[in-house]
Symmetry: C2
Subunit: 271 residues, 2 copies
């Protein structure tokens, strides 16, 4: 597969200018797809350590490193986490389930030892710091695992009931699970395709934000995504339809409407 065919798959249209610069790394990034079916093949020894070294190499705000990661391999625990995260079977089928944590507890323990109060901690900003740190780290792990022939899928459902997840994983106060990540070898029986994304014009702005011409761009995308689903033998709904049906009712949050209260009970200041 050429770089250009990867680009046309990414945008769901052959009508796109080739990238002026490309290489094997960019080709791998373009070729990303979420994997939701895994083989039984165990991960080679040392895989977790390799992924975490890649994750730790990502940037972290002021080198605070306010994140941690939990590697879950125990089948029963994976099943209990799966039940908490919306009952997605691939969570316990994947040999490895990583839970990425925003972790303000480590810096709090250090301050406690020195008998210092961290006045800058109980703010929404700290929640964002930990969340962003965890996300940058996790994405590096995803790039690394794909380079090793592994596949993965992020599990936002881990936020459906963060208090129960915290109990299952013995999380101390000021730690919350940002998302999970299933990791394993992709099943050849259920290959997944690259899902087309919005045209660049919809997400990329120059100098100032502008939504001018957006309607036409989104209509194009609705068509491209519908055609993609049709090719895949699925119900051909457009993106606009999906977005609205996903967000129109609180029930689609599956418990995440309680996040603010739960985080407060879990020791986050959130001022």
């Amino acid at each position: 597969m050429t770089a250009h065919s990867k680009l046309t798959a990414r945008y769901g249209t052959p009508d796109i200018s080739p990238l002026t610069q490309c290489n094997v790394i960019i080709e791998q990034l373009l070729d990303h797809r979420s994997v939701r079916a895994f083989t039984d093949r165990p991960l080679p020894e040392g895989t977790i350590e390799t992924l975490i070294a890649a994750a730790q190499s990502a940037s972290t705000s002021s080198n605070l490193q306010v994140w941690s990661v939990l590697a879950v391999q125990n089948v029963d625990r994976k099943k209990r986490l799966s039940a908490l995260a919306g009952n997605q079977a691939y969570i316990h089928q994947a040999p490895l389930f990583l839970v990425w944590l925003a972790d303000l507890s480590r810096v709090s323990r250090i301050a406690e030892q020195q008998a210092v109060e961290l006045e800058a901690l109980p703010y929404l900003e700290s929640l964002l710091l930990g969340t962003i740190d965890a996300a940058l780290a996790a994405q590096n792990a995803v790039v690394a695992l794909e380079s090793l022939g592994l596949g993965s899928v992020y599990i936002g459902g881990i936020r459906n009931d963060i208090e129960s997840v915290a109990k299952e994983l013995a999380l101390p106060p000021q730690v919350y699970p940002v998302f999970g990540l299933c990791v394993g070898y992709p099943s050849p029986d259920r290959p997944t395709k690259v899902k087309p994304r919005l045209p660049q014009q919809a997400v990329l702005h120059h100098e100032t934000y502008s939504a001018t011409g957006e309607e036409g761009v989104l209509a194009d995308y609705d068509e491209r995504l519908g055609a993609f689903y049709q090719r895949e033998g699925m119900k051909a709904s457009g993106w606009s339809e999906q977005v609205v049906s996903r967000l129109r009712s609180v029930s689609s949050l599956h418990g995440r409407e309680e996040l603010l209260g739960e985080l407060a009970r879990m020791g986050f200041g959130l001022r």
Copy 2:
């Protein structure tokens, strides 16, 4: 430089087991460093489009794509943004300044057109969705730009005064700048070293969270980081000391203590 020497630089110690698996992509990830000095060399045409294609290839929750990015190249605008983000000179020295946005406005515009209310939107969960989406996308862009010989540094200071940034960039309601990213060719006059991170034992937990033995691990890291700063000719303070001095007073937030109120005024529900 061998893969193993990259790993020892990453952890600031020669006393570390080699990775069992490695390749050019993982080596590039290990070798990441933030770049804060750039040459005048302009970016080749098409660079922005390449980086955004990589960014859009990252996972996004339920394919909602609740992020956008602003490419700022105008020198005066970069200077004004630099002033708002803590006066860091490299913001206007870099040929390209990307502002990564959590963007709930696009889905809101779609719903408005269909005269549907998105009841699931005004929750903290939506802020996290947009923040995580933006972070995963940005990290892919960083991996892509480093593969092209470019360097970058994240600018969290863009959150110091998000209302003024929103005004400068004409952001509509329900959009906030998560972080900036300076992009350019690294200046050979001021090469940066890989900064050692916490030992894996401090961030990686198995099955359940445990801080047992953490004190010794952190003491080791304080020593390694101090030695790194000394080698670099800087004041040799340990990590624990840095963390505490960074977080002990609200003044270190440089305005980010107002984020909650600002986001509310900018149209985020945050229930």
